[in-house]
């Protein structure tokens, strides 16, 4: 049986809210919620499909809890696993680094053999640059609480529909 997890930091507020929205949207009790602050290699590798909450910190960095997991990630074989990333950013406040965390993490996962799913259109966003861009799409779901919070539910719902297909 395919195991799916939503992994994010329980210490976050906005990311936690989006993670909960995603969980509710899937409405699947088999999907596990995992705290990224306490993630271990074994737990991480026990899932086939992983939805990761990856915020961008400072001027385009991973949060510590993910950054400190990178050395472990870099020695994992993630072949056959599918990852969907969501990130939170502020298009107006930090237009130069919008969703960079998603791009950084996405590249690391791909290098280890993972497949990324859940790419979304950049239509409706305005920013200067992002490491999460690939072929004019975001490498995951882009949430902007500060400037487009009213669109969160709609964006999450559409993404869940997309993931149902791409995880299948």
């Amino acid at each position: 049986m395919t195991k799916t997890a939503i992994i994010y930091s329980y210490n976050t507020k906005k990311t936690s809210k989006i993670a909960t929205l995603i969980q509710e949207g899937f409405n699947d009790p088999a999907i596990e919620m995992i705290n990224a602050e306490e993630i271990t290699e074994d737990t991480f590798l026990s899932f086939d499909h992983i939805i990761m909450g990856v915020a961008t910190w400072f001027d385009g960095e991973l949060p510590n809890f993910w950054d400190e997991f990178v050395p472990a990630l870099e020695e994992m074989d993630l072949t056959g696993k599918k990852f969907a990333l969501f990130g939170l950013g502020d298009q107006k406040g930090y237009p130069e680094n919008f969703l960079d965390g998603v791009g950084i993490m996405g590249e690391i996962l791909e290098e280890q053999g993972a497949a990324l799913v859940g790419f979304t259109s950049t239509e409706g966003y305005e920013f200067e640059s992002s490491r999460a861009l690939r072929n004019e799409q975001f490498m995951g779901l882009a949430i902007d609480y500060e400037n487009q919070g009213s669109m969160n539910k709609q964006r999450v719902a559409a993404w869940i529909d997309q993931l149902r297909k791409e995880f299948a």
Partner: protein, 680 residues
């Protein structure tokens, strides 16, 4: 983030990890302890904590090789310098300003860590101005074909300074081995970086510069910083051009102990910068990836604590500097002329122009000493040799490596002279500080800076530089081609100022300047470059010592003390008065303003009892005021009349010849003043 993974938590050997941890712990312990010295009134009144910059600072110090590299740290670089080799004792001696502080014996402000002996340079508090020194030094490394890099480190906000752009432009133009590190903690004291420049990462402002590579790294992360600095150094070696390393850091504490960051940072921000403490992160990684046990870490922490404790004890017992030492190392002893101890000669050759005296002396000195260099704006392009052709023919004879143009950036010209002279004490550098003295003002910060070096380092570094400036008016040049700026510059300790009038003195003083250690401002009265009035035979080896005035006319009734453009006017007046039997006028040409020949001044005052001080500069605030005050102090009882002065009006110099003549002193004005004094 660097893709070079030479260092990683899983694969870096344990010994190295332990070394890094100990350096970080000792550094952080002193960083945390520094404010206590102030609270206890021991010292360290300026402390800029590095906490939050730990990754990049460790890395800068670790890649620094004191045999080949040069490091220019800034005032927050405590861990950088500790990682580069300064001991805990040396950090504390600097912090509490003891006589045995290796940076300069407590002369410079605390938190300015340096060890010139190891190429860890003593730099200014003018933040970021050492970028120019790094570039100048790298120029010397390239010219002398030695391996290594010059590493300049600064905060991101100081990149706003214009001289930083000049430095990076110069390094990219000349393809020099420099690593410019920007430690970005988001603030310039309380000013957020958004108020400094449009790019959040200021390094990206330089993305259009040719011959320049830009690296970014997480300065809070030891491994990313180590990998990036290692890659940057390798890049410089391979590509032979400069790089910028932009390191993202956090500032956990206030800017310094005179700042209160809680006035402009909220609790949320203060919490999250604490969460991103690089030292705590490094410790977590060591445990998470099972490189060390908790007990092992505690043992290293205990060792670090002992190191700091012992260093504190050592520092507290170290001697204080003595008050009488303030006069030591103001300026190095000059070159001594054995053959011309008074700067006089009886040579009877063909009279030469002042400009010929300068040109021939420059060439002779460049033949005499292969470690001489000259640059400036316009100094060398085919047949052109300076705006007034003083350097004509030099590039053809000595080559582009020693004689070359500088960009139109006076601070760069001056600052790289400072930097290049740090390479080796045998170097002798001549710069045309600006096309005209009027344009030297942008270089003032580097000029003032350079005047401090010898004293600030307690004699460890002497900038051996002659700054030539075409000075003064009488050419119809207007406001920006007529200024004479000795009134502003002579009051600076740490420099010599000479202002010859005649061809022979110009040659002799230039030779002494170039052969001397230290900084000499060589002011050239450009109106006299080709004047027949100052022609003189010049012995090929002529030398004029500093601080030796010259009697141009002897007399008994009145002394005129002068220099520069007004000397031949005063001589003309003395001759006129003599020919007409009006008076016997003595004319003393100062030649040197600093040091000043006080003996010669006193001698002439005692002889005539009446003194007229004449110079081209404004009377108000002009150097003549200092001469007059000195005469009053030292020879008041010999005076038969008040000391009078003639100089420019308190106005700029107008362009129209009628205006210029109304401003600048002339023979008539001098004659009127002299007559009034004679009749007093």
């Amino acid at each position: 983030m660097s893709t070079n993974k030479k260092y990683s938590i899983k694969h870096t050997d344990k010994e190295t990890l332990a070394k890094w941890l100990k350096l970080m712990l000792v550094g952080r312990a002193i960083d945390n302890r520094a404010p206590n010295y102030l609270k206890q009134a021991i010292g360290w009144s300026y402390h800029a904590p590095f906490a939050g910059h730990d990754g990049i600072q460790l890395a800068i110090g670790q890649i620094f090789d004191r045999e080949h590299d040069h490091l220019f740290p800034y005032y927050r670089d405590m861990l950088t310098t500790h990682s580069a080799g300064l001991t805990a004792e040396e950090l504390i001696l600097n912090g509490i300003s003891r006589d045995t502080d290796v940076a300069g014996g407590g002369r410079h402000m605390s938190n300015h860590f340096a060890k010139p002996e190891w190429n860890i340079h003593n730099v200014s508090s003018c933040t970021g101005n050492h970028t120019l020194h790094a570039v100048g030094l790298a120029r010397a490394m390239k010219k002398y074909k030695v391996p290594g890099v010059a590493i300049s480190s600064q905060g991101e906000s100081s990149v706003s300074e214009g001289y930083v752009y000049e430095a990076i432009n110069g390094a990219s133009t000349e393809k020099l081995p420099v690593i410019f590190v920007f430690q970005d903690n988001g603030y310039g004291i309380s000013v957020p970086k958004a108020d400094q420049t449009a790019n959040r990462k200021v390094a990206n402002n330089f993305s259009g510069f040719k011959n320049l590579e830009i690296f970014h790294c997480n300065g809070k992360d030891v491994f990313d910083s180590m990998n990036t600095m290692t890659a940057a150094k390798a890049y410089v070696a391979e590509h032979e051009h400069p790089v910028i390393v932009h390191a993202n850091c956090v500032r956990i504490h206030s800017h310094s102990n005179s700042d209160r960051h809680d006035l402009y940072r909220d609790d949320y921000e203060l919490n999250y910068v604490n969460e991103y403490d690089p030292l705590a992160k490094f410790r977590r990684l060591l445990l998470r990836y099972e490189r060390f046990t908790g007990a092992e870490l505690e043992a290293i922490e205990a060792e670090a604590k002992e190191v700091v404790k012992a260093a504190h004890k050592f520092g507290m017992n170290a001697p204080q500097p003595t008050p009488e030492s303030i006069h030591d190392f103001v300026i190095p002893e000059p070159y001594v002329s054995d053959k011309y101890p008074e700067g006089l000669h009886n040579h009877e050759g063909e009279p030469k122009k002042l400009i010929e005296g300068l040109n021939e002396t420059l060439k002779a000195e460049f033949r005499h000493n292969p470690d001489t260099f000259i640059w400036g704006q316009d100094v060398a392009h085919k047949e052109k040799g300076g705006i007034f052709n003083v350097t004509k023919g030099m590039q053809q004879e000595f080559g582009k490596e020693r004689v070359f143009n500088g960009p139109i950036a006076e601070d760069f010209i001056m600052g790289t002279a400072n930097g290049m002279s740090r390479f080796n004490d045998k170097l002798r550098i001549v710069v045309e500080g600006a096309e005209f003295a009027d344009y030297f003002w942008p270089a003032m910060e580097q000029f003032v800076e350079t005047s401090h070096e010898y004293w600030r380092t307690k004699g460890q570094f002497s900038p051996n530089i002659t700054v030539r400036l075409a000075s003064g008016g009488y050419i119809g040049g207007g406001l920006y081609h007529s200024q004479t700026i000795e009134g502003s510059l002579t009051p600076l300790p740490g420099i010599r100022v000479v202002y010859p009038s005649y061809a022979d003195d110009a040659a002799g003083l230039l030779r002494t300047s170039i052969r001397s250690r230290g900084l000499t401002l060589f002011l050239e009265p450009k109106a006299l470059y080709n004047s027949s009035k100052v022609l003189s035979p010049i012995p090929d080896d002529f030398e004029v010592p500093f601080g030796k005035a010259r009697l141009r006319r002897e007399g008994a009734d009145l002394s005129i003390i002068t220099y520069g453009n007004t000397t031949p006017m005063c001589v003309d007046l003395a001759d006129k008065f003599a020919e007409n039997g009006i008076a016997s006028v003595e004319v003393l040409d100062l030649r040197s303003l600093s040091p000043l020949d006080t003996e010669a001044i006193m001698a002439t005052v005692k002889k005539t009892g009446k003194v007229l001080v004449v110079h081209e500069d404004k009377v108000f605030g002009g150097f003549g005021g200092e001469v007059a005050a000195m005469i009053n102090d030292m020879t008041f009882e010999y005076l038969d009349a008040p000391v009078k002065r003639v100089g420019s009006t308190f106005t700029p110099v107008g362009f129209n010849r009628i205006l210029e003549a109304a401003v600048l002193p002339d023979l008539t004005r001098i004659e009127n003043a002299a007559t009034a004094l004679l009749n007093y």
